[in-house]
């Protein structure tokens, strides 16, 4: 493990702890009306937590598959200059295949709000 990851871990924990140290003490007590969620004056009748309809689920599914391309692309970028043209062509093929997926999703209107 390179020391950089250790440094990243250390600064993350310190940032997190600093944030917690600032927000954690200031809780105080509050009455029930003081805790009521703000809706412009009236109290909600139900909990806000519910089966929230994610209108962009088509896009989310597309993302799940398309995101994998990143995993292939990072190591590709490192060796690109060494491998030269073959790397270019192979990744172009890979990406064109994936772009077909976006094209399909767009034609099916899967990106719009359901």
């Amino acid at each position: 493990m390179s020391a950089a990851h250790g440094a990243a871990l250390i600064v993350f924990s310190l940032g997190l702890c600093a944030g917690l140290a600032v927000c954690a003490p200031g809780r105080g007590t509050a009455t029930a009306p003081e805790r009521t969620p703000y809706l412009g004056g009236y109290a909600p009748e139900t909990h806000a937590w519910s089966r929230f309809h994610v209108r962009y689920y088509g896009m989310a599914l597309l993302f799940l598959a398309f995101d994998m391309e990143m995993v292939f692309m990072y190591p590709w970028a490192v060796v690109f200059a060494e491998e030269g043209m073959i790397a270019f062509v192979e990744m172009l093929m890979f990406i064109v295949i994936l772009l077909l997926g976006i094209l399909y999703a767009w034609r099916e209107r899967a990106l719009a709000w359901a």
């Binding site: 689920y57 989310a60 599914l61 799940l64 598959a65 995101d67 994998m68 995993v71 292939f72």
Partner: protein, 101 residues
């Protein structure tokens, strides 16, 4: 930090995944069990790569393939969940069985 230690952790993750995949009723929770099993597999592949392959890149490739499998499983799984919920109004496995009769 030795190979057996890593493999034991990986076995623990796999075991919890098996338990989850078998015991949960909800489709999405079953998928979580599957992902946990893949998580164990990723760790095992990484461990073998680091300790007994001498840096053979195929070991890393195996991890990448596991990640791809996970993405595919998640995307298709969620799409199926949506479809089943839309068509059968079912969100847990028992309901599906009941409707099949």
């Amino acid at each position: 930090m030795t190979l057996p230690a890593l493999l034991v952790v990986s076995a623990a993750l796999f075991g919890i995944g098996v338990y989850g995949a078998l015991s949960q009723q909800s489709f999405v929770m079953i998928m979580m069990g599957l992902e946990l099993m893949i998580n164990g597999a990723i760790l095992a592949a990484g461990a073998f790569w680091a300790f007994s392959s001498g840096g053979e890149p195929k070991g890393q490739m195996l991890v990448v393939v596991f990640m791809t499998v996970m993405a595919v499983e998640a995307a298709i799984g969620f799409a199926l969940v949506i479809n089943i919920y839309r068509v059968r109004k079912a969100d847990i496995t028992e309901k599906l069985k009941k409707l099949k009769t």
